[in-house]
Symmetry: C2
């Protein structure tokens, strides 16, 4: 959705509130130091990262006017992102997990850097170290929890990873407490408020980024479609809302983002719903998209392209509402449930999803920054591109949990196998009492 | 641990850093408004809450000097708290749960009020409403998760609560998103930074208070001893560290809390370890202390005082280290494992536990407040009394999960019963293949 904010074009325009608040008020905290300029992305021609490629591009398009030049840069890098993304998805769930982890680390780095600059914590050398410790801890904790639940059978094997699994929560807690104690011990008299603010800032970043990216990876393991479909819906809504806004936009949608219009919002929603219907219909033809990732103890491999498709992906007959039946008595509707689920996801992506973008816009305005970073030429930072994905991933996770995922006999059986012998016996006694000699 | 900070006595002393930072720097944010005085607890004689009882007490002890008068008030209210606490514990797990919930709400209220005053959010009328919505949401979510796990068999019954259980995560998410959208929609231009800071502040309070109190309640359901023992250890360490510090204290422990001494720290630790040993030995004689709370589907009641005691509470022989065996060849050691666990908990309570107090001290200094509230005469607010309990409860929860809780055949069986018929059949097939006709 943040696509709608025509950032680079606005570079030469004054920031709306600039005249009113000339100085960042928060940086007055501990006013011993002089205010340093906040990070701001320079205009198109001098983006520092990935300089070589931008330079080549710049040579080719140097005669275009700046507005179009920025469009070309943005377009070229959109294409690069799309191609890399497709290849990674093609490689399967493990590479997608690594991609999500990489993006998560980049996003955390961007947010922490903003905190570091805005709160001017140069005199607090431990802040960054402790922040990264918390990042590692929360990742270890969350990924441990979901991987242990998903692949509990792996823990039965007696390998060098076993203690990391058995004592998983204790190790996480110990790491966290180490960071917590380090924080308390590094508290310095003049910086109390700043340090507590940054402590909160770090924790909130973790809450926002680590937990959400973890939910996204859980979705991946439920079947790639639960990752690819929502991600594509958000991208589609971003692009189409931008297009509709660009060509037909007249009525302002929300004060927070002056470039966003009702026309873009509605056009985006319609396009996303249609796109969701088409994409879901197409994707559910591939087993590699609809099968959950499972661990095969025989081949000792992760399998994600071989399963009996769940009923969600099978065509079934739907009953029409009675009044339509009266008009068209012989019409029968055959659909796959996933098409209806896609509809719900598309509606969420185009109505609630944009609030992730509004939130990010508000955040950037609050901290007086233009972009979260300058990693992707023409796009800003990673957070600028993934602001709405975060909220979407959580919704999909909750949605799968509520409507899709059925209890797995396999998982329960794995749990049983991990029991001690006497507990297994007790369980089997209960089963026998209830089910008889099945 | 915060007992060690002799708060009321210090009321007439100048706050240490007062001369250096005369104005709260954070309140300069959005400097259109004038700084208002921060909440500060008036000295002993004019505590607003519970005024009647304090007045009566004041009449009786009015001739004492202020320092002793404060001691008496503090002592009397410590006794009142201890008696109420004992009666509530006597009533069983449900009343303890209600107590924890009440304290949680009080703590949240205290912290939010501080945020409200410090960040001067009077012009943001929705802030408090949204904060309470988030509190309700996170409670509903977390308690739902743990109660559903614990008493999943209840969900089988077709009662009016069923949809709250079935759609539990979806309802939580919807409530949260409602708060999130409300937050974005109530963003006001001049207050962006203040609003985002408060958003973070609220979320951090929730993370700190709601999740931890939830862990504490989980501990209660594992057996009352897992609640009563750690809580008592922290109280014992508080009191004994205060006593030792008061009589023998010379060497300052940490800059953050000038009244805390190494003598108090070490004396507290020793006392807590001995106390933990005695208390655990005593408590494990009662079934109502050591039995997990279970739902009995026949009597339709919660049962917490009838079970086959786990091996943790049964006396067993321990082998002495070899070199001691050489000296005393005929000595045999008989102990209950819980006594060793109590030792670990006591060491944690007296070494890491106090950091909860240091953290709270630092927080109060950062925000230039004396106490979190004035609810308990002589003690300050609820948060002042429970700062170390929070960190302890988390440790106990992790400890139980890692070393105590064994997989429950009953729980697994309940899961099996909640399956659909075909999933049950598939599960039984797996069992038969693996275990044969047991």
């Amino acid at each position: 959705m943040s696509n709608l904010v025509h950032r680079k074009v606005g570079v030469n325009e004054p920031v709306e509130e600039k005249s009113k608040v000339s100085k960042n008020p928060l940086t007055d905290v501990g006013s011993e130091e002089e205010m340093e300029p906040l990070p701001s992305v320079p205009s198109g021609e001098s983006i520092p990262q990935d300089k070589a490629s931008v330079d080549v591009l710049d040579q080719v398009i140097k005669d275009l006017n700046p507005r179009w030049r920025n469009w070309v840069i943005r377009g070229v890098f959109s294409l690069i992102m799309l191609l890399s993304f497709s290849s990674i998805v093609y490689l399967g769930p493990v590479s997608i997990t690594l991609l999500i982890l990489t993006i998560q680390v980049k996003c955390f780095h961007e947010i922490i850097t903003i905190g570091y600059v805005v709160y001017k914590s140069h005199h607090l050398p431990w802040f960054r170290t402790i922040s990264w410790l918390f990042l590692i801890t929360s990742n270890y904790y969350l990924y441990g929890e979901s991987l242990i639940e998903k692949f509990s059978i792996l823990t039965l094997k007696d390998n060098f990873l076993a203690p990391l699994v058995t004592y998983h929560r204790l190790i996480s807690f110990t790491l966290y407490i180490a960071g917590f104690v380090a924080f308390v011990l590094t508290l310095k008299k003049t910086y109390y408020l700043k340090q507590f603010t940054l402590f909160g800032y770090t924790h909130l970043s973790l809450l926002l980024i680590v937990t959400q990216s973890n939910l996204m990876i859980q979705n991946v393991f439920e079947g790639l479609i639960w990752f690819l479909l929502p991600v594509s819906l958000i991208i589609c809504n971003d692009i189409m809302a931008y297009m509709f806004g660009f060509f037909f936009g007249k009525t302002r949608l929300i004060k927070l983002s002056p470039k966003k219009t009702w026309e873009g919002f509605i056009g985006g929603a319609f396009s996303t719903i249609i796109f969701g219907f088409i994409l879901s219909t197409y994707l559910c033809n591939f087993k590699s998209m609809i099968c959950p990732t499972e661990y095969d103890s025989v081949t000792k491999n992760l399998i994600y392209d071989n399963c009996e498709p769940s009923s969600v992906f099978k065509t079934r007959e739907y009953t029409l509402p009675r009044f339509i039946q009266l008009i068209f008595p012989n019409v029968k509707i055959f659909m796959q449930p996933i098409q209806i689920h896609a509809l719900v996801l598309a509606i969420f992506a185009s109505t609630i999803g944009p609030f992730g973008g509004f939130f990010a816009s508000g955040f950037k305005r609050a901290f007086k920054i233009k972009d979260f970073g300058d990693t992707i030429p023409g796009h800003g930072g990673f957070m600028d591109r993934f602001d709405c994905q975060v909220i979407m991933a959580t919704f999909v996770n909750v949605y799968i949990y509520t409507f899709i995922r059925s209890p797995s006999p396999n998982k329960l059986f794995n749990q049983l196998l991990s029991f001690k012998h006497e507990d297994q016996v007790e369980f089997l006694r209960l089963v026998k009492n209830h089910f008889g000699d099945f």
